[in-house]
């Protein structure tokens, strides 16, 4: 985990920070969602506690912790308690594998009476060389908390919700996997960092020994995989059980789905997991199709050069550049999070059979078609 104490600490802190940021993003997202919903529905939303109702978040957190701890008599204790804890895992594991910024090169420096370094840090929890595979593997585990919760509650509505939810997740995983295949075809790698680096620079096509550069557009994946991007987005909605795909918690039929029996903090943990999925999905969207942490029109080297114009320390420049890119990444992710929220309050819910039909009979064939089209075009233009 690193060669010396400094590196180990930084890496560990990175992981913890990413996780904690994810956790703490949730209240703000909830606030955003409530305000956004109110805005869409021409209401005000929470606005009493603190400025713009922002302190509502803190109040909610406190309330969650102090809520009564409640376990139904029929519940299976281990499952019942385990489910919310494990609900946190897939999203955080996946999030930690995503590249959030460029690599920071630290040249040797003096501190505490000894020389440290040189180090190479990436703004990323850990760099899994087959990043996509890791993310897919992690998110494929997301079914279990749902099943555990459904089974552990000892409630038939929970069980129904869980089965529905897991069926839905696995169904859309296929379309998602196929959509990602298009991306892999284009970039020829599983590594997320390499993907992001490949999207650097202006958009340039090369076909039949003839290349064309459109300097006003960035070299983003969306221009190569427009259908794939749309399919991925739709599948991501289903994967994170968001409207219009939130069938597992269709309250008209199933009370509240698999978390019917949950309340207080346990419920909150499920929420964190769900929003975590949303964040991961948005981040993947950005990485695959929207240039990741890259700022359109400006390469990371240019940023570093620009910064070194008025900052002496090379290390400071690197860190600052990294943070700027992290900021760019966050902005892009937030745009997608807003799309998630906006869609939730704009579209009605599917019926369950419609949902399955959409997944198997529409998205799967489309994703396949997209894949074949991509492959054929790639072979043809060579």
């Amino acid at each position: 985990m690193g060669s010396d104490i400094f590196e180990v600490t930084v890496n560990a802190l990175k992981l913890v920070t990413i996780f904690l940021v994810m956790v703490s993003l949730v209240p703000s997202l909830v606030w955003l969602e409530r305000r956004g919903a109110a805005f869409i529905q021409d209401r005000l939303g929470p606005n009493r506690v603190g400025p713009l109702g922002l302190t509502q978040l803190a109040a909610d957190a406190v309330k969650f912790i102090f809520k009564e701890e409640f376990v139904p008599a029929k519940a299976i204790k281990f499952m019942f308690y385990g489910a919310p804890v494990f609900a946190l895992l897939p999203a955080s594991l996946a999030l930690c594998a995503l590249p959030l910024g460029p690599i920071i090169n630290i040249i040797p420096f003096e501190a505490f009476g000894q020389t440290w370094g040189p180090y190479i840090f990436s703004i990323q929890g850990y760099e899994a060389s087959l990043g996509i595979l890791f993310v897919l593997a992690a998110s494929s585990l997301a079914v279990y908390p749902i099943l555990m919760a459904g089974w552990g509650s000892g409630n038939k509505y929970s069980l129904f919700g869980a089965l529905r939810g897991s069926s839905q997740i696995i169904s859309y995983e296929l379309a998602m996997g196929l959509a990602i295949l298009g991306v892999i075809l284009i970039f020829g790698t599983f590594n997320l960092n390499e993907m992001v680096t490949a999207q650097n620079g202006p958009l340039s096509f090369s076909a039949f020994d003839y290349s064309m550069t459109l300097s006003f557009l960035p070299n983003w994946g969306i221009f190569y995989q427009p259908i794939g991007a749309f399919l991925f987005l739709a599948a991501a909605f289903a994967e994170s059980n968001r409207l219009p795909f939130d069938l597992p918690e269709g309250e008209s039929e199933l009370v509240a789905g698999f978390h019917t029996e949950y309340g207080g903090l346990k419920m909150n943990l499920f929420f964190i997991g769900e929003y975590g999925h949303m964040i991961v999905a948005s981040a993947l969207m950005v990485i695959f199709y929207f240039g990741g942490y890259l700022i359109p029109g400006v390469s990371p080297e240019q940023v570093t050069q620009f910064l070194s114009g008025f900052i002496d320390s090379q290390n400071m420049t690197a860190v600052l550049s990294g943070l700027i890119h992290l900021g760019a990444f966050s902005i892009k992710v937030f745009i997608f999070l807003w799309i998630f929220i906006h869609v939730r309050w704009s579209l009605p819910r599917f019926r369950y059979d419609q949902l399955m039909e959409l997944g198997w009979k529409t998205m799967l064939p489309w994703a396949l078609g997209n894949l074949i089209l991509t492959a054929v075009i790639m072979a043809a233009i060579h």
Partner: protein
């Protein structure tokens, strides 16, 4: 041991997250008050008298969906190494071979999908 960093990190974050959640739950259970009540302990079914058995008729469809998912998932997994090497194959002039090999496989895949759709295995009434 550069290659092991992710493994360490993954194990670390797994344990950390699990502990975080567990501790949070533990803390919450200690902080809040608990009022035990027979009716409260019952399964929540919107206030209607509880139907005792959880064992109700669960549609075989869920299971069928899962089994089809396994099969298609593996077929998609098989496409991953292909997608990763496709560029290389094209560069070495064997793009059509690779496309053909996968074309046959995909033909089988599409046939399977078509058959499932046609045989109404994917129908949810």
């Amino acid at each position: 041991m550069g290659g092991c960093v992710p493994l360490y990190a993954v194990i670390f974050i797994t344990i950390f997250v699990t502990l975080f959640g567990a501790l949070l739950l533990f803390a919450a259970s200690k902080v809040g008050k608990v009022y035990k009540d027979k009716v409260k302990d019952e399964t929540y079914e919107c206030g209607i008298a509880v139907q005792d058995k959880v064992d109700t008729k669960i549609s075989i469809k869920f299971y069928l969906t899962a089994i089809l998912f396994i099969i298609f998932d593996i077929e998609i997994i098989f496409m991953y190494p292909w997608a990763a090497t496709y560029k290389e194959f094209i560069a070495s002039g064997n793009g059509l071979y690779s496309l053909g090999a996968m074309g046959i496989f995909m033909g089988v895949f599409i046939f399977g999908l078509w058959w499932e759709i046609k045989s109404k295995a994917l129908e949810w009434e």
